[in-house]
Structures are given as C-alpha cells and as structure tokens.
C-alpha cells in the first residue's frame, strides 16, 4: 500500500517489534479514497445536522430527505426518487455518459440496480392496463380457438385408409396363434 504507512512498515520490519500484519495495519491508510468527513453518518436530529448532511451529499436543504429512522441502518443517507438511469436525458453531456451521472452527484442507495443494464422505471409507451388487456386478450382468444379447433376438427372428406392382411394384424403385433377377424376391402 503506497502512502503514509510505508516508512512505518519498513521501520517495523527492520526493528522486528511486532508481527508483520499488525505492523502493516497500524495507522496505515492510503492517501487516496474518501476523507473522514465525507462518509455517511448517523441520522440527523437537529436542523444543523441536517444542513451539514445536505452539504455533505451536495444537496440543497429543501431537497435533502433522509430515510426514516426506524432501525434499518440507513443513517443520514438521502432518500432519492426511485428513478432508473434510463429515464435520464440521453442527449445531455453527462460526465459519465454510460451511467448518465455527473461527478459529485448524490448516488441513489440502489444505484447499482438502476443502471441502464438492469432495472428500468421508464414509463411504458401504452398504459400498463392496456398492455395487460391486449396480451391476455390475445392469449385467451388463441386458447379459445385451440379449444374450438379440438372440438370441431378439420379433416379431409375421405374414408379411412384401407390396409391389407386384416388391417396388418400381424405387423401391428397381433397374436400369431389367434385367428383375427376377417376384414375385406373392395374396389369402388
């Protein structure tokens, strides 16, 4: 890990003071990553805490709405509207065009779900009830027609095909000992 702890690690190894891993972990944090003040915190109770939390998440105080404090563990994370990234303007020049998000924009709690490859909340072109009616109406109609077709089948106006040797008695697995009933066919 680059950064602050490298020298400490080197010193610890050289001195042989404690075992390697605990020396590495002691106070060694990379210079990259979030600073302490910008991590999520507990649920804001006072208006000052609310203002500070809104500033932290780059939201105005009016827009900032935390999740209800009912023990679910959201803390002061903002409750953003459940809209997928697919609903955002495709022509605007986003900083991250694939994610349709700008730098430092507050991320939804379920952001990874609302990416364009996954859950999409964009409105359907036709009302949902209309779509349901069309689909189930069509399927119901087809099933009804299949039933009618089974009840009243189509067939050619011909008699059944005639086969020799007593309707192929032996070929169809008939008992060779037993005498089958005589079936005669005539020309017409």
């Amino acid at each position: 890990m680059a950064g602050v702890g490298f020298r400490m690690w080197a010193k610890a190894l050289a001195k042989g003071r404690s075992s390697g891993l605990s020396a590495l972990l002691s106070g060694c944090r990379a210079a990259s990553g979030v600073s302490k003040g910008s991590l999520p915190g507990p649920y804001p109770k006072t208006p000052e805490e609310r203002a500070a939390a809104a500033k932290k998440y780059n939201l105005t105080v009016q827009d900032y709405e935390p999740y209800p404090d009912n023990g679910e563990g959201f803390g002061d994370y903002p409750k953003l509207p459940d809209r997928s990234q697919q609903e955002r303007d495709p022509w605007y020049q986003w900083d991250h065009p694939d994610l349709r998000r700008n730098w430092a924009e507050p991320m939804h709690w379920d952001f990874d779900m609302f990416i364009r490859n996954r859950v999409d909340t964009s409105p359907s072109p036709v009302p949902w009830s209309t779509m349901c009616k069309h689909l189930f109406g069509f399927i119901g109609f087809m099933l009804f027609m299949f039933y009618v077709g089974a009840k009243f089948p189509c067939y050619q106006p011909v008699a059944p095909k005639q086969y020799p040797y007593n309707d192929l008695y032996l070929e169809r697995g008939g008992d060779p000992e037993k005498q089958p009933e005589e079936i005669k066919h005539y020309e017409i």
């Binding site: 106006p157 005639q162 020309e187 017409i188």
Partner: protein, 133 residues
C-alpha cells in the same frame, strides 16, 4: 328439404359446414366406423388385390403406413433407386406408377366417403317418410 333450399355450391371445406352446421346428423363422422354393409347396393363387388407379400414387405423393412395396396409399386421403386444410385433422376417411371396407384387409392377413399354420405341421407329420407306416414 335442406338440400334443395340452400345453394349447393361447395368449395373446399363444404363437408365441414355440412358436418358441423347444416347436416349434422347425416354427414359421416371420421371417428366412427361406417355402418353400412359394403355389398349393399352393389351386384358383384370385386375385392382389392394385394400383390406384395408380407415376407417381401418385411424384408424391405417398410414402415406400417406404407404397407398398403400399392406396396408392390413402392418395392419396385425402391429397387430401381438402389440399382441406379447415384442417378436420382432415373426412376421417374416407377415413381409415377406408385404415385398413380396412391392417387387411385385416395380417389377410392373419397368415393367411399361419398357413398357413406349418400346412404346416410337415404336412411334419413326413409325415416322421415316413415314418420310422416
């Protein structure tokens, strides 16, 4: 009577209209066995002749649907095809013979259906006459 009052122009499927709508009780049902004696209305009726033997058909390993009264033509066709392979255009005459036999068989089936239908109509006429009397 229904036959004379409605138009008799039937295209393909007229038998279905008769069966399901107009003449539901007389049109022959393909699922049911034909009920009239085969010799009724005929003086002398010639039996159909089967030429290929069971042994021949077994040796040729014909599927059951092809073991009909035209099997001897089919056996000739199969032999011709085997003899003249790879010339797949060589057996036109044998194929035509088999096709013509199958065609005649189909026409016989159509005639049997029509015979059954007319006998049913006749039976109905007799019954109606008996009731009216």
């Amino acid at each position: 009577m229904a036959d004379f009052s409605i138009s008799k122009h039937g295209a393909m499927g007229a038998h279905l209209v008769r069966r399901y709508i107009t003449e539901r009780d007389t049109e022959p049902d393909p699922a049911k066995k034909y009920e009239f004696d085969p010799n009724f209305g005929f003086g002398e009726r010639k039996e159909r002749e089967m030429i290929a033997t069971q042994e021949q058909m077994n040796l040729a390993q014909l599927p059951l649907e092809q073991r009909d009264y035209c099997a001897h033509y089919l056996l000739k066709l199969m032999k011709c095809k085997r003899d003249y392979w790879p010339n797949f255009l060589a057996c036109k005459h044998e194929r035509h013979d088999w096709d013509y036999c199958e065609h005649q068989d189909y026409v016989m089936r159509m005639k049997e259906y029509e015979r059954e239908r007319r006998l049913q109509l006749r039976k109905k006429r007799i019954e109606e006459k008996a009731e009216a009397a």
